[in-house]
């Protein structure tokens, strides 16, 4: 039998039992759609987190007070139980290191803001002029914090977009005097609206000079020091130098943790990549289930078409011809199921992106290819048994069945 004839024969046979065919196509397509949508979710999560981390800034080295638990046993730490705080001077000492472009100290806390009788809770970030460029924030109006002595901050503030609209409505905000805690500050800039991001929501943030924030919170410590390396290559040396400098300043005690954005990024990338793979594996199980369903459908088809198989043998069909015809039918069911499932999956991912625009739910290519080929291979594999059963039927017995 010619290939085109075999395919047409299989197609007509599948079309002859529409319900059964539709069911197995559906099962297969659900399997493939599950792979596509779940990996789109997984990979979307990965991209989202990676994107958020990238938006923190570029080539960042971040200093946290306290030693991270993973550093191993340090006798110095064991004796001095309270780690030394990070100070503004610590931050200032990093400015002149080679390979470091910018440094911004960061103190955070919550406070109240009021203007014209309106009052609300806000996040206050105390930092310096460098903070906004390091974090890639953009200004909608006015300017950032002034360049000045870090220990003597002027009474100014940069406010988030939501705070501006809540306090000032359509009136100009720049130049207005607001009250933050017990201080009167002049608004010098308004941040562009960014929406919810990782970490801080800048729309509800007020940025003030770091020394002002410290006196507002009545503390000398910093939450973080953000260091921006001059380029990608200098990140490791900037990290090492930062650590060495702070260790020296803290009398040889390594009581800070220095992380690089790259390392965090790589960790999340790997973690979420593995997650996606796992999710794809689970979805692939539904493909195996679909394969078993195709096998059952084909076994029923063989039983129902026993008389026809006997006839084909009487008309001179070889065992191979009959095997191929049934195998082609199984392959067709799974191929159509795979294509339908692929389209359904892409549609689902598209819908996800419509509902959650920040979430880049695109299925990765490897998952699409793996899903489609798994569907085809299982379909064929599970089609072999029914096809062989059909080919082995005894023609006389088969012809007697009706």
């Amino acid at each position: 039998m010619r290939l085109t004839d075999t395919l047409r024969f299989a197609r007509d046979a599948a079309a002859g039992t529409p319900l059964r065919t539709a069911l197995s196509v559906l099962a297969m397509s659900i399997g493939v759609a599950a792979v596509v949508i779940l990996t789109a979710l997984g990979d979307g999560a990965r991209r989202y987190v990676v994107g958020q981390f990238s938006s923190l800034g570029t080539n960042l080295v971040i200093v946290l007070p306290g030693r991270s638990g993973t550093g191993g046993f340090n006798p110095a730490n064991a004796i001095t139980s309270t780690p030394r705080d990070l100070t503004i001077d610590d931050a200032a000492s990093l400015k002149r290191l080679p390979g470091v472009r910018r440094v911004a100290p960061l103190a955070v806390g919550s406070s109240e803001i009021s203007f014209g009788g309106k009052l609300r809770e806000i996040m206050v970030a105390g930092s310096t002029a460098e903070f906004i460029p390091i974090r890639n924030f953009e200004l909608a109006q006015g300017q950032g914090l002034p360049e000045e002595d870090w220990n003597r901050g002027s009474s100014v503030a940069v406010i988030g977009a939501k705070i501006r609209s809540e306090l000032f409505g359509s009136n100009p905000a720049i130049g207005q005097l607001i009250r933050v805690g017990d201080r009167r500050l002049r608004v010098v800039g308004v941040l562009k609206s960014t929406g919810q991001g990782l970490g801080m929501n800048t729309d509800e943030l007020v940025i003030v000079p770091v020394s002002l924030a410290q006196s507002l919170f009545n503390s000398n410590t910093l939450f973080r020091i953000m260091v921006e390396a001059s380029n990608r290559e200098t990140i490791p040396s900037a990290k090492a130098q930062t650590l060495a400098t702070l260790k020296q300043r803290h009398r040889g005690e390594e009581d800070v943790t220095v992380i690089t954005q790259d390392a965090v990024l790589a960790t999340f990338d790997r973690l979420l990549g593995t997650l996606t793979l796992g999710v794809a594996g689970i979805a692939a199980i539904s493909l195996a289930v679909a394969g078993i369903l195709v096998m059952n459908v084909m076994l029923v088809a063989v039983t129902q078409r026993t008389g026809e198989i006997g006839l084909l043998k009487a008309l001179g069909a070889t065992a191979r011809t009959i095997r191929l015809a049934f195998l082609a039918e199984a392959a067709m069911l799974s191929a159509v199921g795979a294509v339908v499932g692929y389209l359904l999956g892409q549609l689902g991912a598209f819908a996800l992106r419509q509902f959650f625009p920040v979430f880049p739910a695109y299925p990765p290519d490897w998952a699409v290819i793996a899903g489609l080929s798994t569907a085809l291979v299982t379909g064929l594999l599970f089609g072999v048994m029914p096809a062989r059963r059909a080919a082995r039927l005894d023609p006389v017995q088969a012809l007697m069945k009706r």
Binding site: D5, D12, L315, G316, A317
Partner: protein, 239 residues
């Protein structure tokens, strides 16, 4: 050389503890071009004999020579080729593929044999015309009458131009008139030189054959004898 030569054919079926001798020590020769009716009571082995002649079944013992070749020892694929090229079947219950049109059913043996589509189309068109099915080409079997269905089946049996046509009660599901038509068609084929073996319960139809075999309990009870085909040929003016 006889077209069919059966010697000492045994076909047994095991039914629990008892062995059924469907064919027992059967010897039979059929010459090319003969018209043979096989008769006998139910269960006498007529269908078993026909299945054996059609290579759908194998004997437990004995030899079957078709056109001088021992076909009992052929591989399944070789037997399939012999069925495809040399033998046509006509069944009591027609055995048409329900989802295929009349034309497609007629073409099926050629499709299975891998005949190119263009040639198939041409030969099917001629067969449809020969069997008066011109305007039924695109009808599915369930849109055809019993007589039309059997005509499609006969067209299918002849489309590969076989030497031998085996018909198991071809008129069993038809009324008298359409049965008559079908028999006429089969006899016309025989007149063109195709060997025809028909199993029938109808004595009238059996009497129309030139040779009658009566079976009982897997044996030949009577054989009206081999007509001398060469003489018949001279009489009817065939070479």
């Amino acid at each position: 050389m006889a077209l069919i030569e059966l010697s000492a054919i045994e076909r047994r079926f095991q039914l629990g503890d008892t062995t059924v001798h469907a064919l027992a020590g059967l010897n039979l020769q059929i010459e090319a071009g003969e018209y043979v009716a096989v008769m006998g009571p139910s269960g006498s082995g007529k269908s078993t004999l026909l299945n054996l002649l059609g290579l759908l079944d194998r004997p437990n013992a004995g030899t079957y020579k078709l056109e001088g070749r021992d076909v009992t020892t052929l591989s399944p694929d070789e037997q399939a080729t012999v069925r495809s090229t040399r033998i046509g079947f006509v069944f009591q219950s027609f055995h048409l593929v329900p989802r295929l049109t009349a034309a497609e059913n007629i073409a099926l043996p050629m499709t299975l044999a891998g005949t190119p589509a263009a040639e198939r189309k041409q030969r099917v068109a001629r067969a449809l015309k020969d069997f008066g099915l011109d305007n039924r080409a695109d009808h599915k079997p369930d849109e055809l009458s019993g007589g039309q269905r059997q005509r499609v089946a006969i067209a299918r049996a002849t489309i590969m131009q076989p030497a031998l046509i085996l018909a198991d009660e071809p008129t069993g599901n038809l009324d008298r008139h359409t049965g008559e038509e079908v028999v006429n068609l089969l006899e016309a084929l025989n007149a063109r030189g195709v060997t025809l073996v028909v199993v029938t319960h109808d004595p009238g139809m059996g009497a129309r054959a030139r040779r009658q075999l009566v079976m009982e309990d897997g044996r030949l009870q009577s054989d009206s004898g081999t007509a001398d085909i060469s003489i018949l040929g001279k009489i009817s003016g065939r070479p």
